[in-house]
């Protein structure tokens, strides 16, 4: 041990949604190092490389230490003090709103800040500053799962707990590569003692596919057909759970009729998988006693992702694989607080999964927050892509981007950069003024990062966990929470948020907002219990018998909600419908809890829905000019999204290629005359990038793969969107590849 510590502070990691806990080791009041928390129910003493290096990006020399203001339209960003920056921001936003209407100013939030912070941002922007449109970068990762769950289950409530990975006898990983994207979930899979069949559905032989027991390399974006084909076989074989279907679902007959047409021949032709492979896969699912389905970006980032996710849910409903240990149709989310964004960002949904369009919901929220209901917009926000189009149409003139890097990550990057340049005012709030987006900003607000501020994240399995201030932020950088408070004050609406005085106070507000909702957390006794319990999954009701760590129940954070009756406590539920149409897990507050154990869902009739639709072709098929399908995705476990933070760590930089690379099959490389490690030009109808050829049989002929972390990747991607979730389809574009001559390099 290099350092004798004086304190250890456990907090959840700030990268992905797995939500590992890290013990930050303090020496004389400052964090000096960290190790993964051994007794946390998520990661059990392990972390991926990003987690191990979580403190390093905070020490980067290019941290933003003061607000920056661009001198003139095209001048450089120059340091200014906070009052100047806030004055410039509010003056310009108000000017835009005065000229073009209040909805001409919008914000882009994030899955990277605390729930309390995103709630404050959503409240200040919409209730205080009069904005209507705001969305999050979670649109790029989670929107599809949200919409799918809402429609199928009646609420955006993923059913699972990570322990399900350890209890399945069949684990189906659909468009997911946990070995690289969520290594700690792979750890949980390897802890499964039931010798599970591990089925991977992915066009590439990913690390996960290589480690699985079965791999189905379907043609890209043929997922929906394959899923319906599996349903077809399962129904034909009678391998369905009729009792569960009758008791807990709606729409089965029509679904059965729909999948009738998905014969093995048709499915085989569409997916490129031989009929016997389809049969093996269906048989594996049929013979499993506890089958769990897990999906990630291979499903969510698709032109028909919602229907694909729902087809996975359909399979789970069909076979009764839900609500029991080791089962579920389970979305693994992306960012550390993607789920916080789903519940508390106040963008698409009004707080707590409510609807802006619903007058009752608005009145509800207004009463809880003590504000005038008229301050709450009566329509939902535009989605991210609609805000982007709003800039093109001149309807969005001022944009406030918080903790995301749109100029790198948004699809069809050249267009995005051009559009950001058209704004009257662009404010970027980030740790670094060096991100591609901050470099385009008129005003940069210096933010404190993970480790420098307080709050909670919610992980993929609905678990609230704490983040804390263990490091001093550099210079004038402030927690996003403080920045939102300052903006509210500068705007003149600060008085509306007097009660929002600290992250912990806001947590109490969120508890009140959650009361009687499926996401009820009124039972959590503040930050103290979150810490002591090792994170707590929602829902968490203040019912007798649910405490694990406290002997004497204390008053819950905000008390019971004044609006509506509380959700029936689990002990008393006994399978009868609650006002929300669902009951929740029984018994003591265990560390690992799943939903729907009584077969009741959140629709008013308590039944889950079969949802389906005819598959649609991709927006951009390959052509003679662009003969390859471009797949994008995570390159390594050491890189996080646009590399804003992970690129600051020297040890992480040793773990992936510094220069962009494109994975290409040996057959295609040979046909193009490209040898290993040669530079090639990858070109789409929208842009081009130079990349080193990584020749590997793990990508199929006719496909190429480029990691999303390189700044040039999204020059290629095509802006098509799922019509329901508005999530961009990052994994489907037509590109050409050619060898770069020596002179070109």
């Amino acid at each position: 041990m290099a350092v004798a510590p004086t304190s250890t502070t456990a907090m959840v990691c700030g990268f992905c949604s797995v939500g590992c806990s890290l013990d930050v080791i303090g020496k004389d009041g400052q964090a000096v190092s960290l190790t993964p928390t051994k007794d946390y129910p998520v990661n059990l003493g392990m972390a991926c490389p990003k987690g191990w290096e979580a403190l390093t990006p905070l020490k980067a020399p290019d941290r933003a230490t003061t607000p920056l203001l661009r001198a003139g339209r095209d001048g450089p960003l120059e340091p200014v003090d906070w009052p100047t920056a806030l004055e410039a921001m509010t003056t310009r936003f108000k000017a835009v709103q005065a000229t073009y209407g209040p909805d001409a100013a919008a914000f882009i939030s994030t899955g990277q800040i605390a729930s309390e912070e995103m709630a404050l941002l959503g409240a200040v922007a919409k209730f205080g500053m009069g904005m209507v449109h705001g969305d999050g970068n979670t649109r790029q990762c989670m929107a599809t799962a949200v919409v799918a769950y809402k429609e199928s289950f009646g609420f955006d409530a993923p059913p699972y707990t990570y322990a399900d990975l350890e209890e399945s006898d069949v684990i189906v990983l659909w468009g997911a590569n946990p070995c690289i994207a969520h290594p700690i979930l792979w750890e949980r899979i390897l802890r499964n003692v039931h010798h599970p069949e591990i089925v991977v559905v992915d066009p590439r032989v990913t690390e996960t596919a290589a480690a699985a027991t079965q791999h189905y390399p379907l043609l890209p974006k043929s997922d929906l057909t394959l899923l319906y084909g599996l349903a077809h076989l399962l129904i034909a074989w009678g391998a369905v759970d009729k009792e569960f279907i009758d008791r807990s679902t709606q729409g089965y007959e029509a679904f059965e009729a729909h999948v009738e047409a998905f014969t093995p021949e048709r499915v085989s032709a569409a997916t490129g998988l031989p009929p016997d492979a389809l049969e093996l896969m269906a048989d594996t699912i049929a013979s499993g006693k506890r089958v769990s389905f897990w999906w990630t970006m291979g499903v969510n980032q698709s032109h028909e992702g919602v229907r694909v996710a729902q087809a996975i849910i359909d399979l789970a409903l069909l076979t009764g694989n839900i609500g029991r240990p080791g089962t579920g149709a389970n979305s693994i989310t992306g960012q550390c607080n993607a789920m916080g964004s789903r519940l508390w960002s106040n963008t698409t949904n009004l707080f707590g999964g409510r609807s802006f369009a619903d007058a009752g919901d608005r009145a509800d929220v207004a009463a809880i927050l003590g504000i005038d209901p008229a301050r709450i917009p009566d329509r939902p926000s535009w989605a991210y892509d609609q805000i982007v189009e709003g800039i093109r149409d001149g309807k969005i003139r001022a944009l406030w981007v918080v903790a995301t890097n749109s100029a790198h990550s948004w699809i069809h990057q050249n267009d995005m950069v051009e559009l950001l340049g058209r704004l009257d005012v662009l404010v970027v709030q980030d740790l670094y003024p060096t991100t591609e987006t901050a470099q385009l900003a008129d005003i940069v607000l210096p933010a404190a990062g993970w480790g420098e501020k307080e709050g909670t994240f919610i992980n993929s399995e609905r678990r609230y966990g704490r983040i804390r201030r263990v490091v001093r932020a550099p210079g004038q950088a402030l927690a996003d929470f403080s920045i939102f408070k300052l903006v509210a004050d500068a705007w003149g609406c600060g008085h509306l948020f007097d009660e929002w005085s600290s992250p912990e106070a806001v947590f109490g507000i969120l508890q009140r907002l959650s009361a009687s909702r499926p996401c009820d957390i009124t039972g959590i006794e503040g930050y103290g219990e979150l810490e002591a319990a090792g994170g707590i999954q929602w829902p968490c009701l203040p019912a007798a018998g649910t405490r694990v760590l406290r002997t004497t129940p204390a008053a819950a954070g905000g008390g019971p909600s004044p609006a509506g009756p509380a959700l029936a406590p689990p002990a008393a539920a006994g399978g009868s419908p609650t006002p929300a149409g669902a009951t929740l897990s029984q018994g003591a507050r265990q560390q690992e809890r799943r939903l729907y154990e009584d077969g009741r869902f959140f629709h008013a009739d308590g039944r889950a829905r079969f949802v389906w639709e005819e598959p649609r072709p991709v927006a951009e098929p390959t052509s003679a000019e662009y003969p390859f399908i471009l797949l994008t995705g995570r390159g390594s476990s050491s890189q996080w999204h646009t590399q804003t933070r992970t690129s600051k760590s020297a040890i992480l930089r040793t773990l992936y290629p510094e220069k962009p690379y494109v994975e290409i099959s040996p057959a295609d490389a040979a046909a193009l005359g490209v040898s290993a490690d040669e530079w090639v030009l990858v070109r789409s109808a929208r842009g081009e990038m130079e990349a080193r050829a990584y020749v590997t049989p793990t990508v199929a002929a006719g496909q190429v793969f480029v990691p999303m972390h390189y700044a040039s990747t999204n020059r290629l991607t095509r802006p098509s969107f799922d019509p329901y979730s508005r999530q961009p389809s990052y994994k489907s574009a037509a590109v050409a590849v050619r060898r770069l001559t020596e002179s070109r390099r």
Partner: protein, 491 residues
């Protein structure tokens, strides 16, 4: 005193007191329970004839690389430094594509080449547990171990001027705690086992640790890699390892060319007729060459330690022989004694041989004896003859130079620069690089000058051409060296 909200927030931002609210506070000497992971290490220490070894389960290594960052963090290593790397093997068939990540640290060999090559005895192999450890305080930063280790485990740390490597976290093991990489693997793919050294020795011939790794009979590595599923044939590494420590070899190039020319000159001078100016020139070249070699050391102030490993290190022997050569050359010049000069010539040629051997014993294909020894020997001959000619050696020196250089260029064309397409290349394939052509132009010019102008400025020009050509050729010796190592990652 009233404060503005901004002042309050800034003060809050700097206040870490809330941490204490939820922190587990330790007294000064306690450490947090980060886990010992005792199930991943042996219950008992190795007995006689046994040692500790890493064991890797390839089936559960899925390439997350947590081991690399855990090694970096738990050992408090420098920026970007880790003793563990993760490479990638790929291959299979279009119908059954395959990839396998391979995590690697020091193999704590039974016969460690780092230790054998080290001129300062900076390596120790623990007689009880077999751990090969490096003692930083003894290291002079010559980097020779980065060549002798076929796995390229020791890495030169340019900030510290020394080499560093894995010691299997021996301090942790000593207190019953698993090494950093072992305890950090989410999948438990890395464990510590106890192996019989006799079995390692017995199994090494014809064996490699994983496909593309160097032959195990060089150093008898103890790490074992297991796969229940087996690996298909024909796998290739995704990328190369670091290769030669990534350092400039220019000082060594100059040292080799100059000391060899000097040693050759002492000998040629005696053979073709003694000129005192030849011996003087040779002495100057020798001293310059030896002085330049110091620049290759990360910690030149420790150069005096370089003889300590003479029992096992060809580098120590080279340093000893060439130093002796320098001393005798000085004596020869000072006394103008033929006996002293003969002794100097012998010491010099022994030194040249040691120079050659220190590369040969690395067992890198491009440095095999048939490539290295003729190169250095002929280098001494032509360098020496050129010095003798320039110092007034006349026709005999010119003839030796012309003949020797013609022979060396012919040999180089066939072996070093691969003008003969039938011969297997030293490394890779490809045309002769431009500097190779320059080398031949210089060489042929030197022959022409030697033959046409026996003395005067032409002879001096010939010396310049010979030394320049030799410098180019000797650069090639390093730049075209074959690096081995474990499978590397994508680069």
């Amino acid at each position: 005193m009233s404060t503005t909200p901004l002042e309050r927030y800034l003060a809050e931002q700097a206040d870490l007191a809330p941490v204490e609210r939820f922190s587990v506070v330790h007294d000064a000497c306690a450490v947090p329970d980060t886990g010992t992971w005792q199930d991943r290490i042996p219950l008992t220490a190795p007995a006689a004839g046994q040692q500790y070894a890493f064991a890797v389960d390839l089936d559960t290594c899925t390439g997350c690389k947590a081991c690399v960052t855990a090694c970096h963090n738990l050992n408090g290593l420098d920026d970007g430094e880790s003793y563990r790397t993760v490479g990638l093997l790929k291959g299979g068939t279009p119908a059954q594509p395959f990839q396998q990540t391979v995590t690697t640290a020091c193999h704590h060999c039974v016969d460690p080449a780092c230790l054998n090559g080290c001129p300062t005895n900076a390596y120790e192999k623990d007689v009880f547990n077999g751990i090969v450890a490096h003692i930083e305080g003894r290291c002079l930063g010559c980097g020779y171990c980065t060549w002798t280790c076929p796995y390229e485990v020791p890495r030169f740390n340019s900030n510290r001027g020394v080499v560093r490597k894995c010691d299997m976290c021996r301090d942790r093991l000593a207190v019953g705690e698993a090494p950093a990489c072992v305890q950090a693997c989410p999948n438990g793919a890395i464990t510590i086992t106890v192996v019989d050294t006799a079995a390692v020795t017995r199994d090494a011939p014809g064996h490699t640790l994983v496909p593309t790794a160097p032959p195990s009979d060089i150093t008898l590595p103890t790490t074992s890699y297991h796969s229940e599923w087996g690996l298909p044939g024909g796998l290739t590494a995704a990328g190369a390892t670091l290769g030669g420590g990534g350092r400039s070899h220019d000082p060594l190039v100059a040292m080799l060319v100059l000391t060899q020319a000097a040693a050759g000159a002492m000998a040629v001078d005696l053979a073709v007729g003694h000129q005192r100016s030849t011996a003087v020139t040779a002495l100057v070249l020798a001293l310059v060459g030896l002085a330049i070699s110091i620049f290759h050391l990360g910690r030149p102030e420790r150069a005096w330690r370089a003889l300590a490993g003479w029992r096992h290190s060809w580098l120590s022997r080279e340093v000893g022989a060439l130093s002796l050569f320098g001393g005798l050359a000085f004596l020869a010049v000072a006394t103008d004694s033929a006996v002293a000069q003969a002794a100097a010539a012998v010491a010099g040629l022994v030194g040249v041989t040691c120079s050659g051997m220190l590369y040969v014993v690395t067992r890198r294909p491009s440095w095999r004896a048939a490539v290295t020894l003729p190169r250095f020997g002929l280098g001494a001959l032509v360098g020496g003859a050129a010095v003798a000619l320039a110092a007034g050696g006349g026709r005999p020196a010119a003839m030796v130079l012309a003949g020797g250089l013609a022979a060396k260029l012919t040999w180089e064309a066939a072996v070093v620069w691969r003008l003969d397409p039938e011969r297997p290349p030293l490394r890779g394939t490809g045309p002769v690089p431009p500097h190779g052509l320059a080398r031949f132009v210089l060489g042929v010019s030197a022959i022409a000058l030697a033959v046409s102008s026996i003395g005067g400025p032409g002879a001096a020009l010939a010396l310049l051409a010979v030394l320049s050509g030799e410098l180019i050729e000797r650069s090639r010796f390093f730049s075209a060296a074959s690096w081995t190592g474990m499978p590397g990652p994508k680069r």
